[in-house]
Symmetry: C2
Subunit: 331 residues, 2 copies
């Protein structure tokens, strides 16, 4: 009987989860590998009031499908399950579907499980040359690419990425592909070294002064950025972004965290700064970049655990400075 990681006030391994059915335009995917995202850690703290099987980063093989051509194919899947009928769906904003459910996040069981049911339209076939360990990054890599769907990053732009979390490392790599002058500000030398090895300049945020971002904000490499991409995962990121952005510059917000910031919108008007919220992105270019080897993801894997060790896996993912923790649902 299939295993799954259920969040229901607490997170626990369920060993007799009924196998989902592939009905209504859906496929049943046998999960090879699934990632733990910061959103999963937030859900475990109560974010979205989600109850169900968590997990939304996965790669697997289609075992059953209402679309015969998908059976047996190795796939990754978009997480927003949409109605196709609402004003957002019909105007090119399907990820904002008014009636959406979201895999492992909002009213739909997720992929930290042996099986997950996914709408056929959400599935993307993984090219043969892309390993499972790379393909499992398709979802966060698509989220990084969403920035380039939303704003024009020019080769001559000076871009600062705030945050060396898993998303920050992907964003830095994707934005660097434009030729822009990218600097990544982070807290963990071992994570910044991954970027150093790819030729992407980095800067260690001095933890002692990080609350005010004083060190970073006074560093010449930081000042007067055309674009700041906030992936810090906490309110201080936006404060630092505001200090280093140039007039008429663009701040992209990728962080999602519980709570509100206090913010001077008047200064935003005076400096004519833009703030752009950014969430899920396109899978097809993510798979193309993985197939070409243009983005390095396997160096970002912290550890791979069996689903039987899910408790240890989550502890590892929660450790300060942890990179991507993966779970293998089947042996």
């Amino acid at each position: 009987v299939p295993k799954a990681l259920l969040f229901d006030d607490t997170l626990r391994l369920v060993k007799d989860q009924p196998k989902p059915r592939a009905t209504n335009g859906e496929s049943l995917v046998s999960v090879h590998l699934a990632g733990i995202c910061n959103t999963d850690l937030e859900i475990a703290k109560g974010y979205m009031n989600f109850r169900g099987i968590i997990g939304h980063e996965f790669v697997g093989t289609v075992e059953e499908s209402t679309s015969k051509g998908l059976v047996g194919r190795r796939v990754v899947g978009e997480i927003n399950c949409v109605c196709g009928q609402c004003v957002n769906c019909q105007n090119g904003r399907a990820t904002h579907c008014a009636n959406r459910t979201t895999v492992g996040i909002d009213h739909r069981d997720g992929a930290l499980a042996e099986y997950v049911a996914i709408p056929n339209r959400n599935l993307h076939i993984v090219p043969d040359g892309v390993s499972d360990e790379a393909a499992v990054f398709a979802e966060p890599l698509a989220a990084a690419l969403e920035i380039l769907e939303q704003i024009h990053v020019k080769p001559t732009d000076k871009v600062v990425v705030l945050g060396d979390g898993k998303l920050g490392l992907l964003v830095a790599q994707v934005i660097s592909l434009t030729g822009a002058d990218v600097t990544v500000v982070g807290r963990y030398a071992h994570k910044l070294r991954i970027l150093d090895s790819l030729g992407i300049p980095t800067m260690l945020l001095d933890r002692a002064s990080s609350e005010a971002g004083a060190t970073a904000a006074s560093d010449d490499r930081m000042r007067a950025a055309d674009i700041v991409i906030e992936c810090a995962g906490k309110p201080e990121g936006l404060s630092l972004a505001r200090e280093i952005i140039r007039p008429r510059g663009t701040i992209v917000l990728k962080s999602t965290y519980v709570g509100s910031n206090s913010f001077s919108f008047t200064q935003l008007a005076v400096d004519e700064v833009r703030i752009v919220g950014s969430r899920c992105g396109p899978f097809a270019p993510a798979l193309r970049l993985l197939a070409k080897g243009s983005v390095q993801v396997e160096a970002m894997i912290e550890a791979v655990f069996s689903i039987d060790d899910a408790e240890r896996a989550f502890a590892a993912a929660l450790a300060p400075g942890a990179m991507k923790v993966l779970i293998r649902p089947r042996h």
Copy 2:
């Protein structure tokens, strides 16, 4: 001896203000008419810590100039006095000059006076067909046009303008020229009537429920706006904007007020909303629209006072629901 309105902890009429000199690429303008802007009211409360002659909306005649061709011409003037050398000036962002002074707002005497000195490069000659009473609106009309410099408003867009203040009325008129479906939400029936008479739909914000914007936010005309332009002049404007903007929509911030808002940036990321700060704009198109009669400004004049009645003029400008109060410095 010239008169001027000086702010120096208190606002007072000075009757022996030395006449400024036209040196260093500047002109001496004899002011015909000057407007009181909300920014002046904020300055009188301490905004910008300004000390000096206030006022930045004016029309006048050049009396002396280092540029002979300007002498005797009727002019309006841009308010940002810039260095031309800094990185912002040299990259097309002169209104954000790092070394700027601002007429009547920041380290430079203003135009609520018989005379004001203005850099020649800031002056725009007023077409003959434009009255003084219309030309004095060039500065706020340029600020309204700045929105169209910054974002693309499409003829098919649904736009909501929040606020029926002086700027809100100008913004509504300018945005309506695009053909977009504009609705203006305001608090004063007598101001909204000006727009009604121009064929621009309006909606009275119910004062009883306005804190939450409950009435407006639940009205079908308000929901799912492509663009919301926040001219409400207070924090509640942004909260209502956030309630009615569609996913991936754009909120333009025109309001400047003292203080900070508490704001959920996570929800901004989830809905991929854009926020664009907006300040000073281009004078040339403002004068073109005034010359063509495409924007109606004279109906927005509350009263014209002599500079000797400045105290009464400011009291009139401060009254709830007041429209544009003008001051005539010379008799």
